[in-house]
Amino acid sequence: MKFIISLILTALLSFVACIFLPWWSIAIAAFIVAAFVPQKPFVSFITGFIALFLLWGTIALVISNNNNDLLAHKVSVIILKIDSPVTLIIATAFIGALVASFAALAGSYLHKPKQQQAA
């Protein structure tokens, strides 16, 4: 449950932040959510990854679809050297996911570990 909530919060906060701030505000968003929703570091990492993978991937997919992939064909050749809208969308999703995952990880380290190791 905490996982789902932090996933949704990360995606939502990133989306809202990007309306007003530059793209890397997704790092701030992921960091903040991980800082306020304590989870094991690895879980936070995955939360950040999946949240942005889905957010960026979905937005790019919807945009490209509405555009009949017209621009994605052209830009994928320019940036990736291959004509593949799908690859461009996945690359988009992956980049967002990568940045958010490490930011979330950093946020998770603000908490003490769940179990103190007994001396």
């Binding site: 989306f15 990007c18 309306i19 530059p22 793209w23 890397w24 997704i26 790092a27 960091f31 570091p41 960026w56 937005i59 790019a60 945009i63 490209s64 509405n66 555009n67 009949n68 017209l70 621009l71 994605a72 064909h73 052209k74 830009v75 050749v77 320019i78 940036i79 461009l88 690359a91 988009t92 980049i95 967002g96 990568l98 940045v99 490490f102 930011a103 990880l105 950093a106 380290y109 603000l110 908490h111 003490k112 570990p113």
Partner: protein, 809 residues
């Protein structure tokens, strides 16, 4: 908190953000570029995009309604005159901002700011040519004219209204890919844009190449290689027209033969040049030759084929005028188009208005130069060239009475020995008010209005065609041109006194023109404006063949319809090949041809002389002519300095037609005297080998060989339209070459309700992510035309209206 893991993961996050936000490690900042809410995805325009808008700008003085039709052409209706220019600026910026900006940056010699030091030579060349100096002079004149100042101010304000409200995510994709931001617009930028057109159309010269040729070859040979008269010339104003006695009497200096014509200096300059084929076709046929009884005007300007297109279609309507046509993003007004009374169009005049003078400085400080028996002080202009990621480059240019000293010891372009100084005298430096021309033409009602408007065009010289509903047709080889003596300006001139300077300008009432000629049509296709009885020197070489063929066709046509004109504009007949092929067929020694050679000879023989898409004949002819040309001239040119002018195609053709023992047919490296048969046969053998390779590559068909394409201004292939199946070529009316051709085709029938057609190879949107980016290209390739809709104010419910933009204050 766990400090070390926190610091490490925070550091990794920061490193990722920095890497993905800059070009330090990656070629592109992939984070910002691919962020769906910021980067390229924001440019992926929805196929069902909604352009409706309600916009308020305090700069407007009234209401303006813009109706966008299904081709995204805006029909702009303004209550107040200058508001129409404000909205024109706004729409140019909305749909074509990047292109406008880039063209003015290039014109201003500021390309290095964006692309870095690879553009430094281009920037130095343009600054030293005096592009910004010319634009500044133009601007003074523009702003002294209250009507034009108000028009420019409104246009500039409209562009800036768009730029000021632009968010980063809405930036055109090219800014994101290259990594820079637009600047605000200014009247100077409009002036710079117009000067760039002057450069493109009136910036060509061959003075250094011709000087080298004159020094290298004997007088006799030089005159044979560069004759003053072209036999096949059918001038714009027909032969036999009588010209008034000249009011400006020009006399060559006393020492012209020794110092100028017999000067044996060689220079090594290799300049950046505008395409010498920047030309066009235009014609107007009078009602006596048309089916409707009303005149028809046609124009297709030939320029580099680029995306976004140089042209942007729109309609501008105010209480004072209602005009439709092709506009230049970068300047206000309708440039080639029509209004409710008349139509107008342009072809390039091609006159030489760029001359060089050799300067003798007192010393390398360039502070003083020898002129009219005394040392004169230069004025220095320091050009501050900003370079991306590097310190500024300061270029100090000396200005003399002639103009800027473009080439000197610090700037040689591609010069190998920088020991001479050359100043450039370019007509575009003189103050001018080109916008006034378009302002007046856009609202012209009759021939008198056209005559009053047209004299405002000084540079670039253009052949302006006109037709109106009063049934007048006219053409003028318009410009403000230096009155020259024979040969003046063909070569570099001495700059130590005033004797070689331009002695005056040709008065406007001596500019060649035709008004309602008996033959029932006027036309121009960049050929020489007159025959040699015109009392001023017009230079040597002009494109001949399109004009010759257009006149042949128009003379024979009657009951002309707009469809006939479409067929003529897209005509692929190669009249040059018509004249040259017999030389080949008569002189190829047919005994001992191998199978391949027999095949290609047959192709050449049976070709119907049309440069159509699937014909193999044009390829065979093109390559054969090229090989023949080189076999004839390469031996004589082998030891000439690099950058020596080579003869025009028409020179070789006409020389050989007149004289089959033409001197240059001989190969000077062999003891025998080669004949025409020898050269043609040798050329044919070499051509066959090449044709065979081309055939194996599957490119023998003309359109495949020619490989016409429309390139994005950055040359990025995914943004360009490649391998277009279109015929035509250099000598055809359909002048579609590899990367150059009819950039706009327009046909206007001046019937009471105007009937107009047009097309250009591009689209109204400059956004490669829009379905309106290049949606016209295929139709242009196929020779199709769109109906140009001169919308009436009450047609707002017409189904062609797709979106409405309302502007108010």
């Amino acid at each position: 908190m766990r400090l070390l893991p926190f610091l490490i993961s925070a550091a990794i996050t920061t490193a990722l953000v920095v890497t993905l936000n800059s070009r330090l490690l990656l070629p592109e900042p992939l984070g910002s570029l691919l962020s769906p809410q910021h980067g390229i995805w924001q440019n992926a325009e929805d196929a069902n995009v909604d352009f409706n808008a309600d916009l308020k700008f305090p700069q407007l003085t009234g209401k303006v309604q813009v109706y966008l039709d299904d081709r995204l052409v805006p029909h702009v209706f303004a209550e107040k005159e200058n508001d129409v220019y404000f909205v024109q600026g706004y729409l140019h910026a909305k749909f074509r901002l990047w292109q406008m900006e880039l063209q003015t940056l290039a014109a201003a010699g500021r390309a290095s700011e964006i692309i870095g030091d690879k553009a430094l030579n281009h920037d130095r060349e343009f600054r030293r040519l005096g592009m910004v100096y010319a634009a500044e002079n133009s601007l003074k004149e523009m702003e002294a004219d209250t009507v034009i100042k108000a028009e420019s101010d409104a246009y500039t304000a409209g562009v800036n209204a768009y730029i000021d409200n632009l968010t980063e995510s809405q930036l055109p994709i090219e800014y994101k890919l290259i990594g820079y931001y637009p600047e605000r617009w200014s009247n100077l930028k409009s002036a710079l844009f117009l000067k760039y057109m002057s450069y493109d159309l009136a910036g060509h010269d061959d003075d250094f190449e011709m000087t080298n040729a004159k020094s290298y070859f004997s007088d006799n040979d030089f005159n044979k290689l560069f004759p003053l008269i072209q036999d096949s010339l059918d001038p714009i104003i027909p032969k036999g027209t009588v010209y008034a006695k000249p009011k400006v009497i020009v006399t060559p200096p006393a020492n012209v033969d020794s110092i100028y014509f017999n000067n044996k200096d060689i220079s090594d300059i290799n300049e950046e040049k505008p395409d010498k084929d920047n030309g066009s076709n235009n014609w107007a046929v009078s009602g006596s030759k048309t089916k409707s009884g009303a005149p028809i005007l046609c124009n297709d300007p030939h320029l580099a084929l680029n995306l976004p297109s140089l042209w942007y279609e729109m309609q501008l309507s105010t209480p004072n005028f209602n005009a439709y046509g092709a506009t230049f993003p970068g300047a206000p007004g309708i440039i080639i188009g029509f209004n409710d009374s008349c139509a107008f169009g342009f072809t390039n005049g091609g006159r030489d208005v760029r001359d060089y003078y050799e300067i003798k400085f007192k010393d390398d400080s360039r502070q003083e130069y020898w002129f009219n028996n005394e040392w004169k002080k230069t004025e220095f202009r320091i050009e501050d060239i900003k370079i991306k990621d590097k310190p500024d480059y300061f270029d100090t240019v000396a200005y003399t009475i002639f103009g800027p000293v473009m080439y000197d010891k610090s700037y040689t372009g591609n010069r190998t020995s920088g020991d001479k100084y050359y100043a450039v005298r370019w007509k575009a430096h003189d103050p001018s008010d080109e916008l006034k021309l378009f302002n007046l033409l856009d609202r012209a009602k009759n021939y008198a209005d056209y005559s009053e408007a047209i004299v405002n065009l000084h540079t670039p010289g253009q052949n302006c065609v006109f037709a109106c509903k009063d049934s007048d047709i006219a053409i003028r080889a318009q410009g403000e041109f230096p009155a020259k003596w024979k040969g003046q300006g063909d070569f570099v001139m001495p700059g130590t006194d005033s004797s070689y300077m331009w002695q005056g300008m040709i008065p406007q009432d001596e500019v060649p023109f035709q008004h309602n000629p008996a033959r029932g049509f006027v036309s121009s296709a960049n050929q020489k404006p007159t025959d040699s009885t015109y009392p001023y020197y017009l230079g040597r070489n002009y494109p001949l063949y399109r004009g010759y063929f257009i006149n042949r066709k128009l003379s024979a046509m009657n009951n002309i319809t707009p469809e006939d004109m479409m067929a003529l504009q897209t005509n692929n007949y190669n009249v040059f090949a018509e004249m040259a092929r017999p030389i080949f067929l008569k002189n190829i020694k047919e005994d001992s041809l191998n199978d391949d050679e027999k095949k290609y000879l047959d192709i050449l023989k049976t070709w119907n002389l049309n440069n159509d898409v699937n014909e193999k004949g044009p390829t065979a002819f093109d390559i054969l002519w090229n090989k023949f040309y080189h076999i004839v001239y390469d031996d004589e040119y082998a030891n000439a300095p690099k950058n020596t002018m080579e003869p025009y195609e028409s020179t070789l053709l006409e020389s050989v037609l007149k004289d089959s023992t033409y001197k240059f047919l001989d190969d000077i490296n062999t003891p025998e005297t080669e004949t025409l048969k020898d050269d043609v046969t040798a050329a044919f053998r070499v051509a066959s080998v090449e044709l065979s390779k081309i055939e194996k590559d599957g490119k023998l068909e003309w359109a495949k060989y020619k490989d016409t394409h429309v390139s994005h201004l950055t040359k990025l292939e995914p943004f360009s339209d490649l391998h277009l199946p279109i015929g035509g070529g250099t000598y055809c009316i359909n002048a579609a070459k590899n990367d150059h051709g009819p950039s706009w085709r327009m046909i206007v029938s001046l019937t009471p309700k105007t009937e107009a057609y047009g097309v250009y190879p591009g689209g109204q949107s400059g956004n490669p992510g829009s379905r309106f980016y290049d949606n016209f290209v295929d139709d242009w390739v196929e020779g199709k035309y769109y109906t140009l809709w001169m919308m009436a104010k009450d047609e707002t419910k017409d189904k062609r209206v797709k979106w409405t933009m309302s502007f108010s204050n």
